[in-house]
Structure formats: structure tokens, C-alpha cells
């Protein structure tokens, strides 16, 4: 249901504005309206202007915005760890925090930068260590002499070795040695030994061929190979120690300060939001005005609260709601516990306008029925009901999941009901094992009767939608629209009578007077609905035929269940048969959850709601913490 709203104005002494806003935010039932349309009476526009913050408040806002930026920056640079909650009231310590936050921010920034540098260097050292480790067996067989140069390289493609050898032979006149060894990462690590005179040309060739040469940093200069290995290992160990130490320092700092800074940030956010809300208020020379909306039932309570808190210095007045206000009224949907879970479907639609209907009860009533008609299997219904109960119990704190499970539970109950009517329990098992006949109709063979049944449901649902359209039209004093919808109902009923007479369901003599009546009403239809009225009527007939999907999708479901049982029976073995049939039934159940859901919703959204629902409402967003 759409909750009845009240248009209110709160007036008080200017210096009380922030306290009033804080109080209203605590109550959490008032939505402030920044627009003046419909609130400020004609002739008073010049006396009332937007509320201006005083000098102190402006300074406070600037100070808090700067502090918020610093605290946010500090918090974002701290490690993400689980910390306690702080129960410290930030208000008395805000100046102390402002004094130390910059120091903390700089210190943490330096630590993070140092940590990044150490990590980067350690990665480099690990690369050198891997390279040197791979080269160790090769180096052992090479005698270091002053005339020779050693070039280390990483070769990603083994084919490159042949090309490299060709190039080296050409440059060095066969005076080289290239040794390769597979590295741990799957690449090849190579060592080229050449005379010093050829070293530069070889390096240029490597660069041209895009073979990365491993260049050691200057700190490695003058070290022999074993010294290099030792140096790398020592440096890596030192870096690891440093990183662990900084990590521990950061963790200690975070544990100690993060809860405090979070609490300060939340308080600042709260305070800034209050200060920015004042921009939506208005003022005269002595008073402030706040315009807005609240649920009509809350007016008395809020009036009492304000009167008590400010000893009559602040007054709440309920203003008369005019027709032009109806487009601006925010919407609150409030439904009884049975319908509440169905709001997950309503939330997928735009909100209804204030003068329209809440779609939730309609979905709550018809969705499970359509779902049950489509699935229509007692076995599937029982299984889905059990799953829904389990999910409800297991995820009772996750509202969306719990609501979805509740909807599934109701829908599964209707599936059981229609399953009993259609005599289906995991397909045609009752007939196979116990020769039980359906109570009502066997969907698998009664195709035409089921089409008529689905069409009858469609007629009832679409006509109900049109009836609501008529009521809504009269309520909104749009008489032409209401009469047009009324005529549509009469026309559809007339067409049904004509068709029923044609198929000899009704007496044939009925057809002629009804056709004459339809022809007589047609000009009226043009007058009320415009030139496109017959097209709209045709659309309504198309909407009714669309309900055949209830039967069509149900038929696919029952046939798939039938195929599952047949295939299970064909295996000739109980265990294999149960497994085969079970797998196909499982597929059918999965399809049986999604398909009926989507199609039932579509029947509501497109066929039913289009007849009377008006969207375009805005959500009620009260001031609250």
C-alpha cells in the first residue's frame, strides 16, 4: 500500500535551525524539500530567501572539510585489517585529532613509500638470485680472465638460441661460447662468453633481437660470481627483515589509531551532512522555514517531539495538499507481512505515482497462482518448498535471500495445489505406478482445454486491470479515460460472446445483437480514446492471448518430466534409471524456477499493470543518521 503523506512546514527561531535539523535526523521520518513550489505562498516570495550559514558555521564547514580530506587520506593508506570499534566521542578530541593527523599522515606515507621501495628492490634481488642460481653450474666451468666478458640474458623462446648462435658466430668470428640452462619460470637463462672487444656489438645485437640482457646494478661492480650470489642473498634477507619490521609498525599503528580515525571521520561526515542540509532551508529576517514531507501518521508524534524539545519555539504546521503537489509527493510503500517479500519484484519497477496503486499486493496475490499454474507439479512443489524453508532458515539475516525464499515457498504451495489438480508428481509418476488419474485435467494431452483455461485467466486478469483503470480514472476525475476503459471492457466482453457463439459455446443468435452493439459503441470508443483507440483495443486482445504462455510453458515442463520418466524406464536398471530421470528432473526444476518467474512477472508488468498503473513516483528519503 502507498502510505498517506503529509505536506509540512517547520518554523522556528533562526539560531535553532541546526538543532532542529539534528533532532529531525534522529527521528528519521522527515524528508526535506529544497524546492519552494507549492510551499511558499504567493506574495511572500520576496520576504523569504535560502538560508545562509553564519560566519562561524562557514569556518566550521571549511575546517571539517579539510580535516575530512586528511583523515580520509590517512585511512586509505593504512593496511586493511580487522580492528576494534571505538566508543570514543570524537567531539571533545576533534582539535587534538586535527593537530596530529598531519604528522600521522606524513609518517605513514613515508613508511609506505619505504615499504614499496624495499618490496621493489626485493623483487629485483629475487630475479638476480634466480638468474645467478641458474648460472652457477655454467660459471663453474668458465675461467674468469681479464680479456673475457660475460653477458647474462633471458631467452623466452628456445628457437631464439639458433638465431643468436648465428648472429654471435658472425660478429665474433666463432670466438664465443653460449651456454643455456632452463630456469624455474620455464624460460632459458643464458651466459655468453666473448672477448671484451666484441662485447659491445654483441650487446647491441641482443638489443636489436629484443633479447633482454640482465644488467646488474652498480653495487655489484667488482664482485666475483660467488660474492655476487652471497651479496644477493644477504641483501634479500635484510630487505625481508626491514619489510617485516615496517609491516609490524603499520599493523600496530592501525590497531591503535584506525578505530579512532574512523569514528572521527563518521562524526565529521555526520556534521557536514547536517551543515549541507541547511542549504535546503529558508529564512526570513528572524525565522527559519523547513518544508518537506512525512507520513501523515507521524505528524502528531513529530509535532509533540519538537514542542517538547524546544519549548514551543519551533512549530510544525501541516499544509493543505493541492493537486499540483501530487506529482512531488515522495512514496513510501508499506505492506503486511505476507506481501512484504514480494517487494523484491516491485523494486525492479519504477515507483508508482502517489495517486496510483502499490503493485506489491497484486503481485503477491497473482504471481504465486500463475507460478503454480505453470509449474503445476506436486513433486517439484514439495522439493522447492523444502529448499525455500532451508534457505529461509540458513540465510535469515540476508533480507533479499530470505524474501526470495519466502516468495518461492508461497509459489511452491500453489505448485503443489495445481500439481494435485493436474495429477502430476515428478511428471506422470502417479499414473505410472498407481494408475491414478488427474483430479481435473491431464495437461500433456488436453492442449486445447488448457489453452481455453489460460485464455480465461487472461480475460479475468486483463479485465481486472481495466476495472482498476476505470476506478483510477474516476478518482482522478479523468472521466474520458475512465469511460474509454469501461468501453474497452464492454467491447472485450462483446468480442468474447461473439467468438463463443461462433464456436457454438453460446447460442448462435446472441452473435448478431452483440455485433450491432459493438458497432454502435465504436464511435464512442473513438471519441473517448482517440483515433488509436481500436489499436489499443487490439493490444488488449493481444495481451489476453499472451496468457496462453501459462499453458505453453507448463506444457514444456510436463513433457520434459514425461521424457525424464520414459528415459529412466528405458535404461532397464533401477539405479541408472533413477539417476537418468533424476538428472533430467533436476534440469526441469531449475528451468521450472526461472521460467515461470520471468513469465509470471512479465504478465504482470506488461499485460496487467499497463491497464491502470502510473509510474513516476520518487522514493521517500528522510533525513537520518
Amino acid at each position: 500500500m502507498i502510505v498517506r503523506m503529509a505536506k509540512v512546514e517547520i518554523v522556528g527561531a533562526k539560531d535553532l535551525l541546526q538543532e532542529v535539523l539534528a533532532r529531525l535526523r534522529e527521528l528519521g521520518v522527515f524528508q526535506i524539500e529544497p524546492a519552494t513550489v507549492g510551499f511558499i505562498e504567493e506574495g511572500h516570495e520576496d520576504d523569504i530567501r535560502s538560508f545562509m550559514l553564519d560566519e562561524k558555521s562557514v569556518f566550521e564547514r571549511l575546517f571539517l572539510e579539510e580535516l575530512r580530506a586528511k583523515v580520509g587520506d590517512l585511512l586509505s593508506s593504512l593496511p586493511k585489517v580487522q580492528v576494534r570499534c571505538s566508543y570514543l566521542d570524537p567531539r571533545p578530541v576533534i582539535d587534538t585529532v586535527a593537530a596530529i593527523v598531519e604528522r600521522h599522515r606524513v609518517a605513514i606515507k613515508e613508511k609506505n613509500e619505504r615499504m614499496d621501495a624495499l618490496r621493489k628492490e626485493r623483487v629485483e634481488l629475487e630475479r638476480y638470485a634466480a638468474f645467478l642460481g641458474t648460472l652457477a653450474p655454467l660459471i663453474g666451468s668458465v675461467h674468469e680472465t681479464p680479456d673475457l666478458d660475460f653477458i647474462g640474458l633471458t631467452i623466452r623462446e628456445p628457437e631464439m638460441v639458433i638465431r643468436l648462435k648465428e648472429a654471435l658466430s658472425r660478429i665474433t668470428d666463432w670466438k664465443y661460447d653460449l651456454m643455456t640452462e632452463p630456469a624455474a619460470d620455464g624460460t632459458l637463462v643464458g651466459l655468453i662468453t666473448v672477448e671484451k672487444d666484441h662485447a659491445d656489438r654483441v650487446k647491441k645485437t641482443l638489443s636489436d633481437e629484443q633479447v633482454p640482457e640482465l644488467i646488474f646494478p652498480p653495487s655489484f661492480t667488482g664482485l666475483s660470481f660467488p660474492e655476487k650470489v652471497k651479496y644477493v642473498n644477504t641483501r634479500a634477507a635484510e630487505h625481508t627483515g626491514d619489510i617485516e619490521r615496517i609491516d609490524a609498525e603499520l599493523a600496530r599503528f592501525t590497531q591503535r589509531w584506525m578505530p579512532i580515525y574512523r569514528s572521527v571521520r563518521d562524526w565529521i561526515d555526520d556534521r557536514l551532512s547536517l551543515l549541507s542540509t541547511t542549504a535546503s532551508a529558508f529564512e526570513t529576517r528572524m525565522c527559519f522555514f523547513i518544508n518537506g514531507w512525512m507520513a501523515a501518521k507521524d505528524v502528531k508524534k513529530v509535532r509533540g517531539e519538537l514542542a517538547e524539545a524546544f519549548q514551543g519555539d519551533v512549530v510544525l504546521a501541516e499544509k493543505e495538499m493541492h493537486e499540483e503537489d501530487l506529482d512531488h509527493v515522495p512514496i513510501i510503500l508499506k505492506n503486511p507481512p505476507y506481501f512484504k517479500p514480494f517487494e523484491i519484484f516491485t523494486s525492479m519497477l519504477p515507483l508508482p505515482s502517489y495517486t496510483s496503486y502499490d503493485p506489491t499486493p497484486f503481485i503477491g496475490i497473482f504471481f504465486p497462482v500463475f507460478f503454480g499454474m505453470i509449474l503445476g507439479d506436486a513433486g517439484y512443489g514439495l522439493l522447492l518448498g523444502a529448499i525455500a524453508l532451508y534457505v529461509m532458515k540458513k540465510y535469515r539475516k540476508l533480507h533479499m535471500v530470505r524474501d526470495g525464499a519466502k516468495v518461492l515457498l508461497v509459489a511452491s504451495l500453489y505448485s503443489i495445489f495445481f500439481g494435485v489438480l493436474f495429477g502430476e508428481f515428478f511428471g506422470d509418476l502417479p499414473e505410472r505406478f498407481f494408475h491414478l488419474q488427474p483430479l481435473c485435467v491431464e495437461r500433456r494431452t488436453a492442449v486445447v482445454p488448457m489453452i481455453f483455461f489460460a485464455l480465461a485467466v487472461g480475460v479475468a486478469h486483463v479485465l481486472l486491470g481495466l476495472v482498476f483503470g476505470v476506478i483510477s480514472g474516476f478518482q482522478k476525475k479523468e472521466k474520458k479515460e475512465a469511460v474509454y476503459k469501461l468501453l474497452s471492457i464492454v467491447m472485450i466482453l462483446g468480442l468474447i460472446i461473439v467468438l463463443a457463439s461462433y464456436f457454438e459455446v453460446f447460442p448462435t443468435f446472441l452473435a448478431r445483437p452483440v455485433i450491432i452493439a459493438i458497432l454502435f459503441l465504436t464511435p464512442l470508443l473513438f471519441f473517448t480514446g482517440g483515433l488509436l483507440a481500436p489499436l489499443e483495443l487490439l493490444k488488449s486482445i493481444g495481451n489476453i492471448i499472451s496468457y496462453v504462455r501459462i499453458m505453453a510453458i507448463g506444457l514444456t515442463s510436463v513433457l520434459l518430466a514425461f521424457v525424464a520418466n520414459n528415459l529412466g524406464g528405458l535404461t532397464g536398471d533401477v539405479v541408472t534409471g533413477v539417476v537418468v530421470a533424476g538428472l533430467i528432473h533436476l534440469l526441469n526444476i531449475i528451468l521450472g524456477v526461472f521460467s515461470p518467474t520471468i513469465h509470471s512477472l512479465r504478465l504482470h508488468y506488461v499485460e496487467f499493470f499497463s491497464k491502470f498503473m502510473e509510474h513516476g513516483g520518487r522514493r521517500f528519503e528522510p533525513l537520518k543518521k
Binding site: V447, I545, R549, R602, V606
Partner: protein, 74 residues
């Protein structure tokens, strides 16, 4: 006699087959555009589901015509 039955079956198959192809084509276009729109605005889920489901009316009408051909044409 059997020739007529074949024609009836063919007509029924065409009625549902062609409308199914038309629905599939329309849904592929709407689905692709809808997926793009959802990446930008996830709050449009309900609208996109409706848009994707709208062309299904064609195949439902095809199904009705097909059933009428099979069960009413003698």
C-alpha cells in the same frame, strides 16, 4: 488424405517455427542492447527483463495459430 496431413503439419510447423525465429532475432537484438545498458545502469534490470520478454508474444501467438491449425483444420 496423407498429403493433406503433411501440409497441415507443415503449416503448423511454419506457424511456430517462423515466429520462434522472429522472437529469437528480436530478443538477440534487445538482449545485446539490454546487457550494454545494464553495465551502465544496473537499476534498469526490471525494465530490461520486460523488454527482453516482450517479443515472446510473437511465438505465443505462433503457438496458438499452430495449435488451431492442428486441432481445428479437418
Amino acid at each position: 488424405m496423407s498429403y493433406e496431413k503433411v501440409l497441415i503439419a507443415l503449416c503448423a510447423a511454419l506457424a511456430i517455427g517462423l515466429t520462434a525465429l522472429a522472437t529469437a532475432w528480436a530478443q538477440s537484438k534487445i538482449g545485446a542492447a539490454g546487457a550494454g545498458a545494464l553495465a551502465e545502469k544496473p537499476e534498469l534490470t526490471g525494465t530490461i527483463v520486460i523488454l527482453v520478454a516482450i517479443p515472446e508474444t510473437m511465438v505465443i501467438l505462433g503457438f496458438v495459430v499452430s495449435t488451431m491449425i492442428l486441432f481445428t483444420v479437418k
